[in-house]
Point group: C2
Chain length 155, copies 2
């Protein structure tokens, strides 16, 4: 049930790109800068961002002053989309995958115990990852930084 480095780096990079600059405008950031900030191998990150671009999640600009930026608002890019591009289907077994179904060979899929359970697992993962956008994540991160002090109450 592991997320690959590819997936991890990709998600981290997308989160960087999802954080608006101080001017509030969507950030345009170079590979090198992301790699340094997040301490990942730049050449590897290059490949990853390229995949993400080819999948339509990122736009890029070559040359001086170039870099990457999100192809759409952060609220419209889900973590599920990113993970699928970089790590493939979310499903633990192919026979419950929506995007890459393959029969698992059991005589009756409708009554296969493994399938019944793994289908639940797939749905749970998908609900979380497809239901969480980059904007949701950056919001949660901001919240974690400045925790609501409501619960403290008066002395």
């Amino acid at each position: 049930m592991r997320l690959s480095k590819r997936g991890e780096y990709g998600l981290r990079a997308m989160m960087v790109l999802a954080t608006p600059g101080p001017d509030g405008k969507p950030a345009v950031v170079q590979i090198r800068e992301i790699a340094e900030r997040e301490e990942m191998p730049a050449k590897f990150l290059e490949q990853i961002l390229l995949s993400l671009k080819n999948a339509g999640l990122l736009h890029s600009k070559m040359g001086v002053g170039g870099g990457y930026h999100l192809a759409r608002p952060a609220s419209e890019i889900s973590l599920g989309q990113i993970v699928r591009v970089l790590d493939g289907p979310l499903a633990p077994v192919k026979c419950v995958s929506q995007m890459a179904y393959e029969p698992c060979g059991c005589p009756d899929e409708e009554t296969c115990g493994l399938r019944l359970v793994m289908s639940d697992v797939r749905n749970a993962i998908s609900e979380l990852l497809d239901g969480t956008s980059l904007a949701d994540v950056t919001k949660r991160v901001r919240k974690a930084h400045r925790p609501t002090l409501v619960e403290a109450g008066p002395n």
Copy 2:
């Protein structure tokens, strides 16, 4: 987010062992029989069942008339236990793992976006897999075989 063959075969085998014989007694089954019924390589399954035994989930008997049987009632063996033995931690990233925590290197774990989300994923998977016992699965399978016809209603 994949379950390995090792994990898959192991789960299937445990489900076989969890199905009580016609006499209602807990089944004692040989490697070879499970391998044939479920169409898995016998030698590979041998290793898998051995791991499960060493982890305390199975008991075995050598010699003529021997075989494997569950170490505890099917209701007291969760799928999570089985998967952990065969495929390791459920967590997508080590830094949210309960059984194999390792820092991921981010400057502040409490405000790391990846961690916030992956921790949810881990919990969702764990709730499902640790919350489902072998008995639960066999029950669901039986239900799938004989679907309740309640919903049909009169014409």
